[in-house]
Every structure is written in structure tokens, then in C-alpha cells.
Symmetry: D2
Subunit: 357 residues, 4 copies
């Protein structure tokens, strides 16, 4: 950021580049290597709408990463990825099974239903995870026109509660789903965090287990913006090209989404950044575990869910950004990101400790 | 692009940064000052989803630019901007009037209808422009439940055919619409090109004329990606915050969309880049006008629409990127962008001339 | 109507059973034989939602009537029939071609788009008929994700302007559509009127010509309410059972819709009632043709479209019910129905004559 | 049914008018007084689409019945009524709260979501009833664009499980909803059964308690087909006329829907028929209560929910029509209707008794 142009000068003072909190991995900025990839993809002309060399390379890189030929459709954001995936996978009368904490259910303003035209069938999750046995509750109304027909089971990896399915757990969901002629979609906005936690590649999670569709995350893991819908099962990819465009998720200058995704996924950057965020969450959890009045959920990915006295949290929020998860119980979510530093964690943990001891 | 990291190195060879064509202004990359604004907005944490300092500044900058307080909603792309604007402006039974060449009608894969839930009432355009008298053809069925109720007139400035409404023409459309209790929306993906052609600020086009809603362009004019829905009439902005999120157009790291828009619109960059693109189109038109077998539409913005023998175009396409506009009549579209050089134009014009003389 | 019960007694005085006009064939009541069929279908229990003996018989009767095995789906009304047919036939990104006077375009409050999720591509009609050559204007963007993909050509027989396609004209539309891999849907709310005019069975119109889907009319031709979606091409009937239910068109006591349709279509009642309505329209047209200041469109089905001085029509409306078709040109529509009498026509014609001579 | 015409003759033998079962109140036919009302409304012309004398009278009758001026919109069926009511009441980003056994959730093939554009927020019911405290679980995200905004609480009276809210329970739901600025919709397809059970008029249930919207049942209670959306709160009726038409629920010959509703609701016929069905269910429950291996839910309206050995039910189904409610637990539903006779009940009860003792 040396040599700031006169035009950019007034913007420089707008925010403090050293200020970070624990509110969301979406509060973080762009990883330098991602920014570099954008610069590299710049210059000259490239065919718009995905017929560029970066998007072609992305398909090839992700096919290798997932261990089978995939179709990869870069999109703008996570809600867009989920809606495109589910809208394309489902006929007009088909439905998607998910847990009660699923992002598609609670955090997308009804987009799957209102925009995707897809009803969600919500089952209770356990620690944020869908349990295969819950598919039994879908009942025996296959073919009954009075009820939507389940077509997709959607799970989130890592979950919205910061937990991580083991590959065996994913495989069990896939088996249970496939037995019932259901596809499996993984909302993988934090798939790399799960992989880093499990110590495997992302292919081991969704390629080897038989998952059909993935919303592959980018934004939360160091990109400026961008995700990709990835079809590992070609039969699940009916009409996606049209659905993506109609769903307002077709980037004209797609090379810049694809180049960012290449920066993350061609090498190990996605695991490095996610692994770092995970490590910071673990460091924070370790630092506060056992403090009087504070309880923690299991910490596996980059989130720490803690329950502590509400007035303590309110005081902490005066100095540190984070959100209540449940204003009634006092549970809060502390989210670490690729740019969280050990010093950030230590300062925050110290403040928590000072409050509680 | 010195100091390329090992990670980015394999990407460098992927495309030729000196190759440019006339296919689309979406083929061009990112303007250096826009890239700089992204870098400036990077670093540290900023509240996600629009509650950041760059987005706040954008509202203030655009309010000044348009000469009245506006609400500005950054979104991902042009189709998204149009669908959000129209979906928010219309009740479920209301409709949008547009011309037969409107992007929302012919180039958005039915998104206004399928995703926006809004029927389009198509009237014939003249040189791509909507004529106020065409609103008379909407008939007298106001209040008749058997037919959709017109609510918005949507025009494109500059038009899809490269023409530009004068401010008087816009004002006449606005007056005709408001007399009928209709709102006016401007698809302004090339609004700056229109302003540069008219020699006015964009505020003179949409602020002073009484336009209610604008889809303000960014991507075609040097941004990586991003547009903004702008409400100049607060009554037209019912529920937009929800509609934008539900329509999958809410960027989590919105600071980077807003910072790009600031780079374009805080100063005169939008007029410089658009004006340059216009000048290149004029240069091209001047160079080929009068060639035997070639006819031109009026060239006002950054597009040249030419009709010439199909076999000539097919031979030219072997060396230069451009598209047929109408494969039956042989009309082609040559689009100039912010990065088109005089040398690009001269080489292309020479090739055309060599073919036709 | 002898033996009116005390309960019904207050209703008897509510309206004049001898009053009839020329406003709409929907103003007429229920044909006595249709009412009898309802009574016959009454009593005892029948499986709901279509699994009854009357619905089964309907499929068999219509298969015979159309000359090939069909799937028949009784629904409530014409808009419902059209939306179910088109929604089931089209993928989410597909579209329907129709004329500018099509009921689906101008008289269904945007239901095909807002409820069916189907964009309409409107072409100019000639006398209300779609001309095969107009399919050429759909262009060559097959497979281009930026635009909806045409899937169905929908024509209305008899048309909304009272004209009737010959069977050769229908066959020509079908051939032109099938060559382009498009299905053909007939909005047949007045199909029997067309058959009566042509002197053929309805099967000759839609069975022998290769039409794929029909919205088969009932209400306008003497039923209390009810139409049927009929698939002559089984490939066009994907998921219809679900689509009908989801589209709120699945009657629980379907036996009563099916029994009415049987009353019309098992024998020749549909041709008798429609033929009578046609004859009354012809009688009216004959009686007023040539009157000074009055011009007529061709009268083929049960509508007379006349243009005459507006003030004359306004005076006539004080004594006779009918509607303006176009309040600017003064064109009016005089509609005859199964219960219009020669005396009704003669009295109306006399009044018109008295005004104009 | 004397004097059968030659046309109807082949239909007479189609079904056994003395055969009745316990499958559904939709299996029953039309009450004679309803059929008479149709005949009375027949003859002559009446303005289509609701501008007839029967529909006008219906509004007046229902206003009196509910104790306040209402808007009444006849529609075709229950799913249609619910979707019209909810689609009209909700903005595009608003949602409806209902229980897990709600018809709108489990038996409408996703129509509220796919056609109505309305997300359902499902809370656990107790005996099929929504408990006011469950509204607390909706959380505190009012105004948060990431989540749909609850707008309507929809309850079913009588419930899908055959239970009946007391008027105090309804009032408590209304109070809890209104405190949260939510409207209350009652799916009243069996509202008369609830009223009969409570010994009150339907106005006491939904007029006096402050309910805003009702789907008023007709078909299950002796009509051929037809329901009505009734707005007791005029503010909840925004754009209904358009929404009904667009939702394919506008009957052209509406006089026949309204006349049927008048037959039911102008006098006490709705209470007589529903009360009779309730009495038959009570008779059945009394007759089998206490049988070994059989347990019953509380029987309040016209349904008996019994759990008994599956093989017993399978044998009974060979002679009597009824459905499994839950094929896993062996719970079955025995539904009585307006035409169920004591002899029907006694024969069925005897067969059950013979199986179980």
C-alpha cells in the first residue's frame, strides 16, 4: 500500500487495518495470495461468463482435488451456491432435508423456498449434525402427490455449530441417503476448516464418500468473494448452466472468481488458512476452558461457542466484536479467521479471564 | 506484476495480457485504480454485509452524485441489480414495462419472471428506446384482477443498441410514467457511457429527471464485479434489504464492492473510463463508415452496430473477437471498453477495410 | 325447481332466471344434463382426489375421443389448466411461445409467470392465430444460458378473437414446432366451438394433428366448473400429478368434475352446446352485418366482435350486458352461450339495428 | 334420481350409492340441500368472477355470522384457500408459523412455499395444537435480513389430529401473536366441526377471539367443492382480489360456489352436518374404547385416531375403507362425514370388536 494514488488517498483513513475481532470470518479481508491471483488474472481480454482459461483450469484442479471428474460452477456467494445447487437438483415438487441449524434454513432469508422453489424438511440435528436415522422420519409417502418428495439431503461441513463430521459420518449419511434414492449436498462454506481439522484433503470428505453436490467455500477462507457449486455426480447437474444464470449467480468477469479459487485450491492455501483459523479457535478455547461460569461446546473448526453470563458478554462486547448466538441462554459465538493472530486471541482470552475470575 | 509468488507463478502463463477484442466490455479486466481501491479496503476487520465504512461512504457519495438523498444497495451483478430493484418495487401481481430489446427481457434467462416474480410487458422500442406513447398501449385495465397491473417502466441507458436517451427523453418517459402512477427504473449498466456521451453528470440523467430506481453499473466500466441498486425515491425501496438478501445478492465482504464503486464514482473515473470507451467506438465507426457493403446504426455509447456481409464477418472473427447480433441479417456488435486502445481500433478497422475494399 | 326447501327459499328470489346477455359464456349457468350428471355421481363414497370410477372412465372416454391413449387431469378452471400444463411441461429455464392476444398472456394476471415460473415469449398473431413463420423470430440462441429456452408453443382454439384454426393450420403449427423440438399446447377452453365450426370431432383437431397437450374446456360450455389437462404425448406429462396438487388444482371430490366432463364428452353434448352457441353468434352477425357504422371480424365460433360508435354501445349497454374489447377503437365483444336463444339474439339485433339505422 | 336421461344412464351403474367408509370426509358426496342451492342458483345469466348476487349475499351472511364486516373470497379448495390467504398476507420475505402436523406443512405438496412464496416455520404441536409459548422460540431476529420475518401464525381448527381448540385457547394464540405483531390465520376446513363440538357458533371461535384470516371450509362438510378465504381484519386483505386470480382460484361461475356456501352458512346446516359427523365419530370411539390392544387419541371432532395391531387393520381394510396415519406405529384414522350412518358405525365397530376380542 505504498504509492497510494490521489484517488485512493481519501479512502486510506477510513478504517483501522490493525483492528480485528471475533464476530465473523466474513469480517476478515482478502488473503495476499488471493489478491495476487486477481492481479495475475488481470490484463487483456478473457471471454466472459466462464469461458476463460482460469475457469477451465479450475474445473481441472477441482477434479483432481476431488478425485473424480467434476463440473465446477463458480458463483458469487454461499446463499447463491446453495440455491443454485438445490434448485438445479430438485424438480418443482421435490424437497431438501436439513437440520434445524442449517444455514439454508435459518440464515438465507427463505431463499431456498422463495427463490429456489424448494421446500426444506427440517430434522433435529445433534451438535449441528444430521443423523442418518433422522431420514426414517421422512415417512413412507414416496409417490404421494399430497406431499413434497424428498430429493436431497443437505448437510453442512463444518457445521454451523463449529463441529465437524468425520468422514465415516459423512459416508453414513451418504449411504442412508442413497439407499432412499436421495442425493447428498454438502454446504461446504467451511469445508477446508473441516478438512484441516480431520487432517485430510477435501477430496477425502466429499469425493471418497460419495457426496453428489458441494457448495465449495471461498469467501470465509480468504477470498474477496466467490464460491463454487461442484457436481461430483453428473446426474445431479441437470440444467445448472441455466439455473446459475437465472439465479443471478453468473459472473461476467468470471476469471476473477476462478483465479481466486485457484489461489485457494490449486495448492494447499485453503488448508493453511483454514487450519490457522482452527488453531486460533483451539487456542482461544484452551485459554478459557474451565473458567468459572463458562461452558463450551466441542471446538473443532474455527468457531468457539461459549455460554457465559450475559452481562459479562455485554461488557466484553464494548471492547471486542462478537455476536450472541442465543440471547436467551447467553450463548455466544467467537469466530476466528485466517487473519486472527495469537496476540488477538491472547488479549481476548485475558479479558474473558479477567471478567470471570 | 513483478514479484510473483511461487503460488501464482503457474497462472501467469495462462493468458496473453496484451490480447484484446471487440466482443464485450465484460471481456476487459479491472482498472488499476479499482484494483488499488480493493487493496486499500483490505486489511483488518470490517463489519460484514454492508455495515462497513466503505458502504456508508458510498451512500453519501452517491447521494451527492445524484443530487438527493438515495439509498444505495451494492449487489453482485447486473441481472441481480435489476431483479432486486424490480422485485422490491412490485407487489406480487404487478408488472414491468420494457422494450423488446431490454436486457431484462432477452438476456437474463427469465430471471425477472422466474426469480423476481414479475411479468414483463414488452413494447416495441425505437432505436432501443422506449417511446412514452407506447405506455398508451397498456390499456385501461387498471384494477382489473384478470391482468397484471403495471407498476414500473424500465428503460436502459445507454440502450442495448448503443443509443443514448437525451435527458429530455428520459424526463418525458418519467413524466408519462408518473402520470400513470408508474415508477421509472433505469438499467444503468452503462449509465456512465450515456453521461459521457451527453456531456453531463449521471445525476443530470437520473437525479434531475425524476427517475425512481437505478441499477448502477460497475463491472462493464472497469470493476472486478459489482453494481448497485440505487433508490432515488424512498417510496420505491420497500423491503429492499430483505429482497437483496433473499435474492442472493448480499455480499458478505461488501466493503470490497463498495470500495470499487467508490473508486469509480467518488471522482470522475467512471466518466473517464466510459468516455474513453465511447471515443474508441466513435473512432471505429468513423474509420469504417462509408465502406461499401457496410451500414451502421447511430454510434453514441461504446458499441458499434454494423451490418456487413456474413462471410466477411466470419473471416474477421478468425482474427478478432466479436459477436453476431443477428445471424440472419448479418448485423454484428463491436464493443469497446475502458482498455481498448487506439491501436486496437486502427488494426481492426484496417482489417475491415481490407475486406470490404 | 318445484319443491324448494325452506332453506333454499330465500335464494329463489335473488336473480331473474330469464335474464341473459352477451357479456360472456361464463355468465351462463349449468346445462341440465350436466346437473343431472352431478346428481348421478352423488351418493355413497368415492375415493377422493381422482381415484374414483368417474375419473377413470373420463380417461378412457377422452382416449377414445382423441384417438390415442391420453392422460387426463381434471382441474378447476382454465387458468389452472393452462398453468398446470405449462408448469409441468417446462423446466425452470424454459419458456412458452404464444400470441399477443393469448389468454395466458393478457387475462391470467401473470399466473403463468408468477405461479408457473414460465416466461412467455409473445409473437404477433394474425386474427388471433399464431403463424408458424413467427417461430423463426425466436432466433438461434438454443443452448445460450443468457436467454430462456423455448419449450412449448401455446395456441388457443377457438382463439380469443373468435376465429378458428383449420386442422391444416393446427398441423402446420405442430410441424413447425416439432421441427424445432417444441411441444404444442392448445388452450381449448372453447375447443368444442372450434370443432363444431369445422364440423369435425375434437380428436381431429388435437389428436390427429400431433398436438401434445390440451387444456380441455368445460365451464364455458355448460359445466358448473371444471376443465381438464390432457396429455396426448406421454413425454409431456412429467410430474403432472404433483404439479396439479401443488398448483392447487386437485379437487378432493373429483368425481363431480369428472362426471360433468363425462356428460359433455362421452356423447355429443359438447358439440351440441357449442354448436348452438356458434349458431347464435352467426345469427347475430348475420342480423347486423352491413349496418351503417358497424364492422365485424370474421365470426367463426361463439363470439361476435363488432366495431361501432362508442355512444351507441354505451346506450345498448343500458339494456344488454356486453363488454368493450377495446375502449379506444370502440370494438365490442358479443358472446353467445349454450343457453342463448334465437329470441335473445333477435331482440338484441333489433336494438342494434334501431340504433344504427 | 328418477327420470334419468339416456345420456346419464350409462353412468348410473358406475358406483354403489350405498357404500360408505371411514377413509375421509372427502369421500362423501354432496348434501341434498347444497345440491338444491346449486339448482336454485342456476338459470339465466349472472355476472362472472364474483360480481353476482349470491357472492354479494355471502359476504353479508358471513359478516353477520362472524359478528363484524368481513371480506369473503370464495375459492376452489382448501389448499387454494390457504395459499391465497398466506400469499396475500405476507410480503415476499415474510413467513408463517405452524405446527408440525399442519395441513399446509405436510399435505399441500409444498404449495405454500413453491406457489405462495412463503416459508413455513414449524413448531411442535401438542395434540395438534399450537401452544402460544412456542412463539417464543421464533427468537429475536426481527429486522435481521438474514432470516425470514414471521408475519402469520396459522392454526387449524379442528386440528388435523381431530382435536379442537377451546375459544380460550384460540384467544391465547391470538393474544400471543398480536403481541408480536403477527396475524392469525385459521385453517378452518373443519371449523364447523369445532364449533359443533364446542357448542358455539363459528363466530365465537374466529370473530370474537380476534382471528384475522380464515380459510372457511365447505367441501368436507357437504359441498361439491368450494371454500372461502375470509378476512376479518381488513388490513390483512391487501391485494387479495389479484392474488386469488393469479393463484388460479377465481371461479368464473362463482355464483355456484357462493350458493353452496350460502346453503351451509346462511342457516345452521353447517352445524347440523358437522355435528352429525362428530356424533358418529364419538359413537365409534365409544364403541371401541377399551378394547384390548387398541388405544385412542381424544375424539373431539369427526376423526377417530386409533392405534391397534397392524395386521388387524390390514384385515379390516379388506372390508372397510380407511387409512393408516402412521405405518410404523400402526396408528390409523377413521373419519366420519355428514353422511355416515349409525349403522355404518355399528357395523364397523362390530368388525373391530370381533378382531380384537
Amino acid at each position: 500500500m505504498n504509492r497510494i494514488s490521489p484517488l485512493a488517498a481519501p479512502l486510506v483513513a477510513l478504517h483501522d487495518r490493525d483492528q480485528r475481532g471475533f464476530a465473523s470470518d466474513n469480517y476478515a479481508g482478502v488473503h495476499p495470495q488471493v489478491l495476487e491471483a486477481i492481479a495475475v488474472a488481470n490484463g487483456g481480454h478473457q471471454t466472459a461468463y466462464g469461458d476463460d482459461v482460469y475457469s477451465a483450469r479450475l474445473t481441472s484442479v477441482l477434479s483432481e482435488r476431488f478425485g473424480k471428474p467434476v463440473e465446477a460452477y463458480p458463483v458469487f456467494n454461499g446463499t447463491g451456491a446453495n440455491v443454485v445447487a438445490l434448485r438445479a437438483a430438485c424438480e418443482r415438487w421435490e424437497a431438501v432435508v436439513c437440520t434445524d441449524s442449517a444455514h439454508i434454513h435459518v440464515d438465507e432469508c427463505g431463499a431456498p423456498e422463495a427463490m429456489g422453489g424448494v421446500k426444506l424438511l427440517v430434522v433435529p440435528g445433534v451438535d449441528g449434525k444430521l443423523v442418518p436415522a433422522s431420514l426414517d422420519t421422512l415417512g413412507t409417502r414416496r409417490g404421494d402427490e399430497h406431499t413434497v418428495q424428498p430429493r436431497v439431503v443437505s448437510i453442512t461441513q463444518a457445521t454451523e455449530l463449529g463441529t465437524v463430521y468425520t468422514t465415516e459420518e459423512i459416508a453414513a449419511v451418504v449411504d442412508a441417503a442413497h439407499e432412499r434414492n436421495l442425493l447428498v449436498h454438502v454446504d461446504g462454506s467451511r469445508l477446508a476448516n473441516a478438512a484441516a481439522h480431520l487432517g485430510v484433503d477435501i477430496g477425502a470428505i466429499v469425493g471418497a464418500t460419495g457426496v453428489d453436490l458441494v457448495s465449495l467455500g471461498g469467501t470465509k477462507n480468504g477470498m474477496l468473494m466467490g464460491e463454487a457449486v461442484v457436481a461430483l455426480n453428473p446426474d445431479a447437474a441437470r440444467g445448472w448452466k441455466f439455473v446459475r444464470k437465472q439465479s443471478m449467480q453468473l459472473a461476467s468477469k468470471m476469471r476473477f472468481v476462478s483465479a481466486q479459487l485457484l489461489a485457494l485450491y490449486e495448492g494447499d492455501l485453503h488448508l493453511q488458512t483454514a487450519g490457522h483459523a482452527n488453531a486460533m479457535a483451539a487456542r482461544l478455547a484452551d485459554a478459557v476452558a474451565g473458567l468459572p461460569g463458562l461452558t463450551l461446546r466441542p471446538v473443532q473448526a474455527n468457531a468457539v461457542f461459549a455460554t457465559l453470563p450475559i452481562e459479562v458478554s455485554l461488557r466484553l462486547q464494548e471492547r471486542f466484536h462478537f455476536y450472541f448466538w442465543n440471547e436467551t441462554t447467553g450463548e455466544v459465538r467467537w469466530m476466528c479467521s485466517w487473519d486472527t493472530t495469537p496476540a488477538d486471541v491472547d488479549a481476548f482470552a485475558a479479558a474473558i479471564r479477567a471478567e470471570l475470575t
